[in-house]
Amino acid sequence: MTPFDYDYLRKLLKDRSGLVLSADKEYLVESRLLPIARKNSLGSLSELVQKLKGPGSETLLVAVVEAMTTNETFFLRDKVPFDHFRNSIVPALLKAREAKRKLRIWCAAASTGQEPYSLAMCLKDMGPRLDGWRVEIVATDLSMDVLDKAKAGVYSQFEVQRGLPIQMLLKYFTQTGETWQISSEIRSMVQYRTLNLLGDFTSLGPFDLVFCRNVLIYFDQPTKIDVLERIRRITEPDGFLVLGAAETVVGLTDAFKPVQDQRGVYAPNGAVPAKGAGGFAMPATQRLAANFGAPR
């Protein structure tokens, strides 16, 4: 792969998925894209790039973007956010929504389903407290392949052991040979949709809770700000945002503020930020200017 090929792929991935690759990530690109080149009978990554530049390359383009977006995930990943979910967030929302008895949750980077199913299992474990409530978990991801796997809810023995307590495994999964399938009851609690966070997602909302973990770390600063502020617009004023352990809103936007003593949990801060171009089209400087002018 020539430096020009690498630059082309970097730009393509940035434009299509927001994924920012530093100059030293050539090995990652090679390890993930060489299998795609081989599958398409292309002899090298340079040939793959040529093919991408040509007409009718949309299917190949989707395969490249999907291969490069990270899908590593665990059940109850990092544990702490799920403790907050069970012990603080859901109790607060149950109190606040007592009249409506309806909760809407968005998993913004659902990958192969471990996160939305973890939330669904936690809710199910709460038992009669949620009787008579309508709970919607909307799970989105950029990749169609991972969502197909998520919908099937079938995991290897290795995957189900990553973070899932054995009691929950026995309670919510059925063993079939070497694989384990999550129960239809849990699967039915989650709706899956393909979604690019760089595009407009206004119509998905509003939500009481947004889980957007371990995805912003792959974006550059203007993109992080843009996505966070657009999430704010579809989050209820008394709702919550949960970010990954290595992510924060601090220093990026004041659309959300950290919730005290709950690492990774954020609450909407004042008024909804002014609406920009509804996507990633508006330059960062304009978006920042628009938001500085917004009432708070």
Partner: protein, 121 residues
């Protein structure tokens, strides 16, 4: 520093487990079967036991049942680590007092997650 007794008749598994658990700041002792593990527990109870099922002399299941009847034997967190991966076997182990269950093969992330789950890290 917390202590973990690694019980497995395979020296390779013991070595792999030792490396993972030492990386998690555990002091490790080893036993090759259930009887040797019981002797070790009678000398000093560890904070955790990583336990194989099928072993000569005394298997992991028998060891666990005996341990849980010993004075203070309810204290160590016991995590099975075995090729026995049928639901009925898992349920049997939990009923006998196991805190968590790892199905072999395993890796560092799985051990760390299971130990975190039972409050050992």
């Amino acid at each position: 520093m917390k202590t973990c007794l690694v019980v497995d008749d395979s020296s390779v598994i013991r070595k792999v487990a030792r490396r993972i658990l030492e990386g998690m700041d555990f002091a490790i002792t080893e036993a090759e079967d259930g009887q040797e593990a019981l002797d070790a527990c009678q000398r000093e109870l560890p904070d955790a036991v990583l336990l194989d099922w099928n072993m000569p002399r005394m298997d992991g299941y028998e060891f666990l049942r005996t341990l849980r009847r010993m004075p203070g034997g309810d204290r160590p967190k016991v995590v099975f680590c075995t090729t026995e991966n049928e639901v009925a076997q898992i349920a049997r182990a939990l009923h006998a007092g196991a805190d968590e269950y790892i199905m072999k093969p395993f890796d560092k992330d799985i051990v760390a997650a299971k130990f975190q789950e039972v409050g050992l890290v």
